[in-house]
């Protein structure tokens, strides 16, 4: 690709780009490819896909807008960014829907092709904003706007392949990708290889897409519209081999790894639901690992089959989102009562009811904690980033198998679809999970005896399915096919030890307490919490869980950069809490708990530790914003220390979004 125009190259430390278009315009694919290119280049990055629940919402309308935001940098970053530096808008609706998020001075690359009277009306524009560029009343006056006929140039570039106009125009997303790839110096090989493979069966489409991609690049290089290209150097990261990974993919890999590391075949019973279905899709590809996937007739059958498989000695898993958990609740209670290993994955989405299927939220914590009849304690594990879903899945499986209990793994829509570079772990560093199946009868009915006449009677034993391990309180896992250990389990209360039905009041009291004690005992196996308090002088602690790790970390960095002290702790285990949490909470004057719900972790902390947890809560279906969080943290620091906190140096979203550690 030869250069005809002398271009200036500017250095940047980080950029946030948002690709936005109609839900049929291929924006998710475009964003994903740009992400892969940036990952291979070595930038740190975080992504935020955002799309409507409708597969094809009415074309050209505001509800039909789909977007993909990618934040990439030459240093370690934690969020997808609060506000885009660059918006690529493929139609009037995409421009209108995303404009409110843009900071002053942001660049807009807009495809002029679809700015027809009809499309402008659909998007709610009275007049074409592009006609007013440079006017005194220019609605886009705060931004650097680049109007380009992306569609027209795409159609012209792919003319030779004889595609219909519609098919030719569909390659416009690759033209846009090519243009942005040039602008930010992205490597192009992986995208060309991807397109070659993806459209291998339709050569004309394949060639059109590759041609459009290259044409976009060449356009950037030759046009005078874009005088500057940018360089964002690779981020210095610890040595290792990396790949880009989404939360759902990492979670699926974690479950496969749990099967390998435990020697148990993984059995997934699942019913399709947004945003969890990709885990089912992914696991269905890994039969070579002995993974069985059953697409059940409903959510209940999904968990039922998983419980059956666990009873039969497999690692039972069920994956769903909040509404599915509601349906599975009774069966999860059965797994608690029968004390069988089970991993329940809840990829949380906006609720209640159907809610916001494609948006993120953390409002299922209390459902996970308490959403069953009776005293039904269930361990809860939450990943903090897309890549961390891998480790969280292994940890959920470890607890499930070791303690013979269902475990809730609380991911969310942001983690599921968002992605980040992930250092691929060494297999030897992964935990080994021991199923320890029961093979022998464990209860002495009659001890061995020698009678007066010298005759020896051998010891007589039977099998007690609820005779517990003293350390973990776990019961034996005896699988069908093991001779001599035939036993019956079920949802009725069990007698201590022998496990037969028991309606005895004292026994019920004992068993309720024992099931709770078993879950509490998991805390013994947890490492101490990491308290991030660099100065050791912080009076304010920010405590979070799950996907808010990134925004909280970014907010904390801003506050520290401005010269103030703040501590951060992030919870992986929500039930039981780590043993040192209570003591850590006591060390700080103020505890701020940011959550994408109305204060669910706050409620648990207040109940358990009598701490005045202060909530920071948003339920907008989107990740928390780092700048807003920094503001909230700053206010609390000011209050706790009796000082004035000024974050203005670090809080300009367009200059210093995130600061290196």
């Amino acid at each position: 690709m030869s250069s005809q125009v002398q271009k200036q190259v500017k250095q940047l430390d980080r950029v946030i780009i948002r690709f936005a278009g109609d839900s049929g315009d291929g924006m998710q694919l475009t964003g994903d490819r740009f992400t892969q290119e940036s990952a291979v280049f070595g930038n740190d990055l975080v992504t935020l896909p955002n799309f409507p629940a409708e597969i094809r919402a009415p074309q050209g309308t505001l509800p039909g807008v789909s977007s993909f935001q990618v934040h990439f940098a030459d240093h370690d970053i934690l969020t997808a960014g609060d506000a885009p530096d660059v918006l690529v808008a493929m139609n009037p609706a995409a421009l209108k829907a995303n404009l409110p998020d843009l900071p002053r001075g942001a660049s807009i690359i807009v495809d002029t092709h679809d700015f027809s009277a009809r499309n402008l009306t659909k998007a709610g524009y009275d007049a074409n904003p592009l006609d007013l560029l440079g006017d005194a009343n220019d609605p886009l006056g705060d931004f650097a706007v680049h109007p380009v006929d992306l569609t027209g140039m795409t159609v012209a570039a792919v003319k030779e392949f004889g595609l219909s106009r519609k098919d030719a125009a569909r390659a416009k997303n690759m033209f846009a990708l090519g243009l942005l790839s040039w602008m930010y110096g992205r490597p192009t090989e992986s995208t060309i290889a991807f397109l070659t493979k993806r459209f291998a069966k339709v050569p004309a489409i394949r060639d059109a897409n590759i041609t459009a991609f290259k044409a976009g690049w060449n356009f950037g290089e030759t046009t005078e519209t874009f005088a500057v290209s940018y360089e964002i150097k690779p981020a210095p990261v610890s040595a290792g081999t990396y790949r880009n990974i989404s939360g759902n993919l990492a979670l699926a890999y974690g479950l496969v790894a749990a099967g390998v590391q435990s020697g148990l075949p993984v059995f997934l019973g699942s019913y399709p639901i947004t945003p969890a279905s990709d885990i089912l899709h992914e696991l269905s590809k890994h039969k070579a690992f002995g993974v069985t996937t059953l697409q059940a007739e409903d959510e209940i059958a999904g968990v039922g089959a998983a419980i059956g498989a666990s009873f039969a000695g497999h690692l039972g898993v069920t994956t769903t989102s909040g509404p599915g958990i509601a349906l599975k609740s009774e069966a999860i209670g059965l797994a608690i009562m029968t004390e069988l290993p089970l991993v329940v994955v809840d990829v949380q989405r906006g609720g209640p009811s159907t809610g916001l299927p494609t948006k993120t939220e953390q409002a299922d914590l209390l459902q996970a904690m308490f959403g069953r009849n009776g005293e039904a304690p269930m361990p809860i594990v939450a990943p903090q980033s897309p890549g961390d879903c891998f480790d969280a899945a292994l940890e959920a499986a470890r607890i499930a198998v070791t303690y013979r209990t269902p475990v809730m793994l609380l991911s969310d829509g942001y983690l599921a679809n968002g992605s980040e570079p992930w250092r691929i772990p060494e297999i030897t560093d992964l935990p080994v999970i021991e199923p320890n199946f029961a093979t022998e009868r464990n209860h002495v009915v009659k001890p061995a005896a020698t009678a007066e006449d010298g005759t020896v009677t051998e010891e007589e034993r039977d099998f007690w399915p609820y005779l517990r391990d003293e350390e973990t309180l776990a019961r034996p896992w005896a699988v069908p096919g093991t001779p001599g250990l035939e036993h019956r389990i079920g949802g009725l209360e069990k007698g201590e030890g022998h496990g037969n039905i028991s309606y005895d009041p004292a026994n019920h009291d004992f068993m309720v307490r024992t099931r709770q004690a078993k879950v509490d005992r998991i805390a013994e196996s947890l490492p101490p919490l990491t308290v991030d308090d660099p100065s050791g002088r912080a009076k304010v602690l920010v405590l979070g869980w799950g996907s808010t790790y990134g925004p909280i970390g970014a907010g904390v960095r801003r506050v520290r950069k401005a010269g103030y002290d703040v501590a951060q702790v992030h919870l992986r285990h929500l039930n039981p809490f780590p043993k040192d949490l209570g003591e850590i909470l006591k060390r700080y004057d103020k505890v701020l708990v940011p959550e994408m719900n109305l204060g669910q972790l706050s409620m648990l902390l207040r109940a358990k530790y009598l701490v005045d947890a202060i909530g920071y809560n948003h339920v907008r279906g989107l990740p928390l914003k780092a700048a807003e969080l920094a503001e909230a943290i700053g206010n609390l620091v000011a209050e706790a220390e009796g000082i004035t906190v000024d974050l203005s140096t670090t809080n300009d979203p367009h200059t210093a979004e995130e600061i290196s550690r």
């Binding site: 007739e297 409903d298 209940i300 089959a305």
Partner: protein, 374 residues
Amino acid sequence: MTALSSGTELPFPGLRSGVELVPTNDQPQTGKEYTSDQEVRWCPGCGDYAVLKAVQGFLPDLGLRRENIVFVSGIGCSSRFPYYLDTYGMHSIHGRAPSIATGIATAREDLSVWVVTGDGDALSIGGNHLIHALRRNVNMTILLFNNRIYGLTKGQYSPTSEPGKVTKSTPMGSVDHPFNPVSLALGAEASFVARTIDSDRKHLTSVLSAAAAHRGTSLVEIYQNCPIFNDGAFDAIKGQGEFKDGKADAIIPLVHGEQIRFGAPDEDGRGSKVVVRDHVTGGVKVALAADVEDSAVLVHDAHATDPSTAFAISRLTAADYLHQAPIGIFRAVERPTYDDQARAQVATAREDAPGEPTDKLAALIGSGDTWTVV
């Protein structure tokens, strides 16, 4: 009715056995070995006792290793069944036994999986799981105890109760239209569907043998009397009470390869009533033997690929008081099972990708576009 030989022998030559992958026992077994130490707690006179006895008596004849047999149940009187058998078992939650059994049967080819359920458990709260188990054809045997009433909750009408039934929840009579479990199962394209009676141990045992030997989901509807809340519901079928002499007219026996005849014997000793095709409706109807040609009498074909005739026969079941019902094996056809196919896919995938699991895992997580930082 055909007496079936015991053991794992195939009742229908050419079909794969439902227990062919289950390890067998070389030692003779007794019913006592299959009896757990738990006290049986059904009401006196309950039909469940007879079925339990029949199952405990029949399981040794299967000749399987006891530890490779699993009974799964839902909720209801009959669902206490697994507690009384000394095999592996799970008394699960209301209606969900088929889904749990699906997991067990798919996970393990070496297990003989049984579901014990009732009309409320299987057809009301668990209706969805039942039809999907039948559709998938998972290798398991479902014993559906039909007493046409809710027993454990003390006497509400069930999805098989006759219209107009007066119960605690329907003081003016039920306005629900009932399910015919056999029709429902045939509609779901079940590969094995049979009906039998709690009090006829010989027939019950023969049907259980055939059901266990069938590879795929076997649904056995067992007419079972509830002496407390629905006593006498099957008196006509059993020839009891006011129907003392009417049994021959009530039971339409289905025997593969034989004419469908019932009713008081004619001078040749054959049933005076027959089932013939109804060319008006496309279904079947009952006729007097004397009124039709012998060649017009329907010969029962349990192996017919098309379930339509079996369905038509199932419609001869009285929908109100049970004064007439076909009894026997309606349908037994070979169809690939879900679990065999699911396991075959896993096996194929494993053969295609040999190697150490940890090596394969390293390759998997290291796939895609990667870059190395030194």
